[in-house]
């Protein structure tokens, strides 16, 4: 399907739950509410005509001025050769979301990474722990207001003059 056809098809499939951005540059994407997040992803992944079986990329972006974290999933279908970007927004303080690891196994590690770097925890995740940073690290580095520790296990984090 072409991207326009896919957008029309998804609009028909999901009805009033869709919210499309129409940015002046770059890719178009679909935003859904965080409650519907898992169900909509499930529908899109299993629907015959969409068959978005490949989770290309899954990441989060911090927006402190909105007090929200945006989760972005780039999905793709090898058989139909089309892709769709699905987004949701959750609050920064109670950063909790449903896991997608049952739908796409690739999400297991992507979600661990988001948990590690942005501090978003995922319900029903099989193995949610830090992936990139050490277990005793303080803070979530990709948040915009992240401040680094002064020493880590006795090693200074700035180079002495």
């Amino acid at each position: 399907m072409t991207s326009e056809a896919l957008i029309d098809y998804v609009k028909g499939l999901l009805g009033d739950k869709t919210k499309w951005a129409d940015p002046e540059a770059g890719d178009n994407f679909l935003t859904v509410a965080s409650e519907d997040w898992k169900n909509i992803c499930q529908t899109l992944a299993t629907d015959k005509k969409c068959s978005l079986t490949y989770l290309r990329n899954f990441t989060g972006t911090d927006y402190p001025e909105d007090d929200e974290i945006e989760l972005t999933a780039h999905t793709f279908s090898y058989s139909e050769k089309h892709g769709l970007i699905i987004k949701t927004r959750i609050s920064r303080e109670a950063a909790v979301c449903d896991t997608l690891s049952k739908i796409w196994p690739a999400a297991i590690w992507y979600e661990r990474e988001i948990f590690d770097l942005l501090g978003v925890s995922f319900n029903n995740h099989p193995d949610l722990r830090r992936i990139l940073m050490p277990e005793d690290w303080v803070g979530h580095p990709l948040r915009k207001d992240y401040k680094q520790q002064e020493t880590y296990r006795g090693i200074p984090t700035t180079r002495p003059a």
């Binding site: 002046e24 540059a25 079986t53 990441t59 780039h74 090898y78 050769k81 690739a106 050490p134 990709l142």
Partner: protein, 378 residues
């Protein structure tokens, strides 16, 4: 010695082994926690992050052109592709036209880089299975590629050659002749590789039918590139979602056929990479024959300010789809950059397929999946 064997239950005993981050076969600083029953593995749990350098956070404090050198370090074996992916993202975000000559040069440099990267990979596979000599021979060939790329852009490993809007330096005719000379030489090497090691009885026995990844698993875990193709999925970004000059070129995409065992086993992953070397040579030859004259960089201002928006751009690197997701807020600096790399997803499947393998097989799996630390950790 009491610590070695942990009592689990009446009959369940397992040996917990720590492999890495310093281990000769982990290709950089990867770590695996192996739960084994003697030589047979129950589970291998990968632990990553030993090379996490915070490339994505650094992007938020550098300008767009200033970030390109950092992209070299996303994967030091294939720096060209990361350069190209990032440049392509910014070009599509701010509508920059890339001159045709630059696109040809990108393809030539990229394919040379792919050969160099596959050289290391194929060599590492054979070395991890015990044969050291093919690795050293391939290092020797890589030296020549390093020379060529150094003559082009002055760096051996971290190239910083592909820039936003084009490429950094032009190639003269002499350089193109040198590349052709190298190809004549290297195509003989590929044949020698076939004679020397690819169909070696022991090597085939070690890899055939080991750690089979089905096509469904491969797609579900997001494997890309040669790993995906070895599982029988016929997909190559260069052919199916063409970018740059690739639509004008003629090349084949080798896919795994279960030549010695099952589709998607270690041998398929190995042999797909060997076959790709030849296709890369073909691509470079076509580029050298058809390269036009002209500019090498488009009309790019010193300060790049893409409009507000976001883009996901990907190229077919040596380890498959190397993607970058860039969010721009309209300023000189990116708001968010996220790298999507083949090794990250390849690493995540290891726990899934490791059950029942032997320790020696795990080494083959890591090598044939071509997992490399900077890509998983970034």
């Amino acid at each position: 010695m009491t610590t070695v064997i942990r009592e689990l239950g009446d009959e369940q005993r397992e040996l917990v082994l720590n492999m890495g981050p310093h281990h000769p076969s982990t290709h950089g600083v990867l770590r695996f926690v192996l739960h084994t029953d003697g030589e047979v593995m129950r589970k291998a749990v990968p632990e990553i992050g030993y090379l996490h350098r915070g490339l994505e956070k650094i992007a938020e404090s550098t300008t767009y052109p200033g970030y390109v050198p950092y992209t070299d370090r996303v994967n030091y074996l294939e720096a060209m592709f990361a350069n190209e992916a990032f440049s392509k993202a910014i070009e599509s975000l701010s509508d920059i036209e890339v001159p045709e000559r630059a696109q040809y040069l990108r393809a030539i440099a990229g394919e040379l880089n792919r050969i160099a990267s596959h050289n290391i990979t194929i060599g590492c596979i054979t070395m991890d299975l015990g044969a050291i000599t093919p690795f050293v021979h391939l290092l020797r060939e890589r030296e020549t590629i390093n020379d060529l790329i150094e003559a082009l852009c002055g760096q051996r490993v971290t190239h910083h050659y592909v820039r936003i809007g084009g490429v950094a330096y032009d190639a003269d005719d002499n350089w193109l002749k040198q590349v052709e000379k190298f190809l004549n030489h290297f195509e003989a090497i590929i044949e020698e590789l076939d004679n020397l090691i690819v169909y070696n009885e022991i090597l085939v026995k070690r890899m055939a039918d080991v750690a089979v990844i089905t096509a469904d698993d491969a797609v579900g875990f997001g494997l890309v590139g040669p790993n995906l193709r070895a599982s029988g999925v016929d997909w190559d970004l260069r052919r199916d979602m063409p970018y740059g000059i690739y639509p004008k070129l003629d090349f084949d995409v080798p896919i795994g056929a279960g030549e010695k065992g099952t589709v998607g086993d270690c041998f398929d992953r190995f042999v797909v990479r060997v076959r790709e070397l030849k296709q890369s040579c073909r691509i470079i030859r076509q580029c050298i024959n058809n390269i036009p004259d002209g500019d090498i960089i488009g009309n790019v201002s010193r300060k790049i300010k893409p409009p507000k928006g976001e883009v996901y751009s990907c190229v077919e690197g040596a380890r498959g789809e190397l993607g970058v997701y860039v969010v721009s807020d309209g300023t000189e600096k990116p708001y968010r950059v996220k790298w999507r790399s083949g090794s990250f997803s390849a690493m995540s499947i290891i726990e899934h397929i490791s059950e029942g393998l032997m320790i020696a097989d795990l080494v083959a799996v890591i090598a044939t999946l071509d997992v490399i630390a900077p890509e998983t950790d970034r």
